[in-house]
């Protein structure tokens, strides 16, 4: 009997200590691929989030609470993501971050909208660091979703502005992954090129299955046969790496205008053949002029995690989240969401602001080119990216009109 009593007491104590510890920790669920074809992308994202959380905790935490990143492996599968989301919610997690795959983000937005409607007082917030289907901040915008990367349209607008100035480009080939994001990129490219340079002929507009193509040589062959002067692609992860691998093996010497050409793994496979040809439009690359403090910060990250510093937007996301929680002073997603909307923030690369009308972050973008003449190199190679002479794009210039009609909780 005594034994039973002490057991009960121990159990009560244990539950108490759990509830105490959960009061001082702020858990963020990280739902991204940690196995399978896109594991490299997901794994690197996780390292950035962990480092950002460490930095917040070293500075006293968010609103005095310790930030903890809890990883969930979704294998870039929307269905699996919903299972993982439920798991996260069951663990009492109120903040979800995700980025790889607009198909996944789309499923998460729907599920979180539903969850929040059905469970008032237990709302969950979705902070999206990389899924860039424009619909999420337009027709399908949600009060519970915030995006910290420029959407596909914003990037394409900047890319086509650059394209419009290149008089020697007459034929363009568009290749993308066959899902909502790839289609969004292709549509944006077609409409914007028709607007800005009606003389450019689109000689190919093709989608390939996501993560299934092992050898892009036949696709590269097609591009070469079509005499394209430039290639536009939204590919990411392994699809980007293998495309560039095939292109440089075949000696396809035309500019590749990419969203994720500097993505992890791509640089190591590109090699000399890609110098001056692979361009990317991003919110960050390592050779943008910045403060010494930020350089030291990048070095510290690379030392601690043994991988390149790539997702500046993860730090922007976490810093703004930290600021919002500090402002609110408690773990309340609704209040945090109101604090985030309209927030202005200073990053090492310029001012950013979160649009109140559609929850899209406005930030400076940079067009950069693969080069061997850079001060900070990537992935242990002698290569890196350098900003183009006319590659600095002011945040305000990327602002697009939105169709968002947001419903806010009263």
């Amino acid at each position: 009997m005594n034994y039973l009593k002490s057991l009960v007491a121990a159990a009560v104590l244990a539950t108490c200590s759990i509830s105490v510890s959960s009061a001082d920790t702020l858990k963020i669920g990280y739902i991204d691929p940690l196995s399978g074809h896109f594991a490299l992308a997901g794994d690197t994202g996780l390292k950035h989030f962990r480092y950002a959380a460490d930095r917040i905790n070293e500075a006293g935490g968010a609103g005095g609470m310790t930030v903890e990143i809890v990883p969930f492996d979704n294998k870039v599968n929307p269905k699996e993501s919903l299972v993982q989301l439920q798991k996260a919610i069951d663990q009492g997690i109120r903040y979800i971050v995700q980025g790889n795959g607009s198909s996944v983000a789309s499923a998460l937005i729907d599920a979180i909208n539903k969850h929040n409607k059905r469970n008032p007082g237990e709302e969950v917030l979705f902070l999206n660091y990389a899924a860039v289907d424009p619909a999420f901040t337009n027709d399908r915008c949600s009060f519970w979703h915030f995006r910290f990367d420029a959407d596909a349209d914003m990037k394409m607008a900047a890319m086509t502005d650059w394209l419009a100035k290149q008089d020697d480009i007459k034929k363009v080939y568009i290749l993308g992954q066959d899902y909502s994001f790839g289609k969004a990129v292709a549509n944006a490219a077609v409409t914007m090129i028709a607007e800005k340079r009606p003389d450019i002929e689109i000689v190919g507009n093709e989608l390939h299955p996501l993560g299934k193509v092992k050898d892009f040589t036949p696709y590269v062959q097609k591009m070469m046969t079509s005499d394209a002067d430039a290639v536009i692609t939204g590919n990411w992860g392994q699809d980007m790496t293998l495309l560039i691998k095939a292109a440089s093996a075949a000696g396809h010497n035309v500019p590749y205008l990419t969203y994720y050409g500097g993505g992890l793994g791509a640089v190591a496979t590109m090699g000399e053949g890609a110098i001056g040809l692979v361009k990317q439009i991003t919110e960050f690359h390592q050779n943008i002029d910045t403060s010494e403090e930020q350089v030291a910060n990048m070095d510290r990250f690379q030392e601690r995690y043994g991988t390149d510093y790539y997702y500046q937007r993860v730090f922007t996301l976490m810093e703004m989240f930290d600021k919002a929680v500090d402002e609110v002073g408690e773990n309340d997603p609704v209040k945090v969401a109101f604090a985030l909307a309209g927030m202005e923030h200073e990053t090492p690369y310029g001012p950013v602001s979160m649009r109140e009308d559609n929850h899209q972050l406005i930030q400076p973008l940079f067009i950069s080119t693969f080069s061997d003449d850079v001060s900070r190199t990537l992935e242990g190679t002698a290569f890196g990216f350098t900003t183009d002479p006319d590659g600095n794009i002011n945040g305000d210039a990327t602002r697009t009109a939105t169709t968002c009609q947001m419903e806010r909780p009263s």
């Binding site: 940690l34 196995s35 399978g36 074809h37 594991a39 490299l40 794994d43 066959d178 190919g204 093709e206 989608l207 390939h208 299955p209 299934k212 193509v213 092992k214 050898d215 040589t217 036949p218 696709y219 062959q221 097609k222 070469m224 046969t225 392994q238 790496t241 293998l242 093996a249 075949a250 000696g251 396809h252 793994g265 190591a268």
Partner: protein
Amino acid sequence: METFFFSLLNGVIYGLLLFMLSSGLTLIFSMMGVLNFAHASFYMLGAYFAYTIGSVTGFWIALFLAPILVGLAGAGVERWGLRKVHTNGHLAELLFTFGLAYLIDELVKIIWGKIPVPYEIPAALDFPLFTLFGAQYPAYRIFMLVVSIAMLAGLWFLLKRTRAGLIIQAALTHPHMVGHLGHNVPRVFMIVFGFGCALAGLAGVIGGNYLVTEPAMALSIGPIVFVVVVVGGMGSLEGAFIASLLIGLLQTFAISIDTTFAEIFAFTGLSPLSDLGRISIASLAPMLPFLLLVLVLMIRPRGLMGEREI
């Protein structure tokens, strides 16, 4: 013209890689009468072994050592695993290889991690061999072609022109008779199983750096290899050879054809804007091997060259 030439070359190389995998599988099938679900896992092991050995000794030694190691692993699996399960019938064997595939998958994840390893093409072969129609052709692919053809010739010679080959062929069809003649049939089976796995390992060594070396590689090529074996006819090496080339060429050529359904079926008035009309042949490429599988099973269930029904 250039599209045709390059598609032909790429298709043949991909086809030969498939054959290297499926030849082992089909040999093992004719022996055990059971499909080895773990076969693609041995292909993956080949790539990982080559990566690890290669980082110490360089690529060339790994090219020989890795398949031998995979072959030994395969022989071990037969000797201490399958042989015991064999007494319980085909279903038990099938389930055994099924479990083994998952086991190897998880082991690879534990040892080498979940993300791809940087298994690179050796520097000595990393240059464009020739330029044709303005496109460069990488030397490594021609190397793959040479290795595949050498393996094909070696396999043919071994099976058709040597005494060992005769015994193997006889043991495949009449194991009891061969046993009565004084040959150690279980040992022949073990050698054939190990040899089939070594072939898969060799495919992994030369395919791992051409494609990507990652824990999901077995899963992504496994289904295609089964398609090859079924389409070619279970247990038929000639059939596997024809089916491998057929599927390699089919997939590569399909990607280069942009014709949409709307254009093919224009006479039916199919609109190019409709969901069906928009589908192009190129976008069907990943599906074609499986379409072939279904068609072959419907029209000719024993496969192109097979001798027995499934």
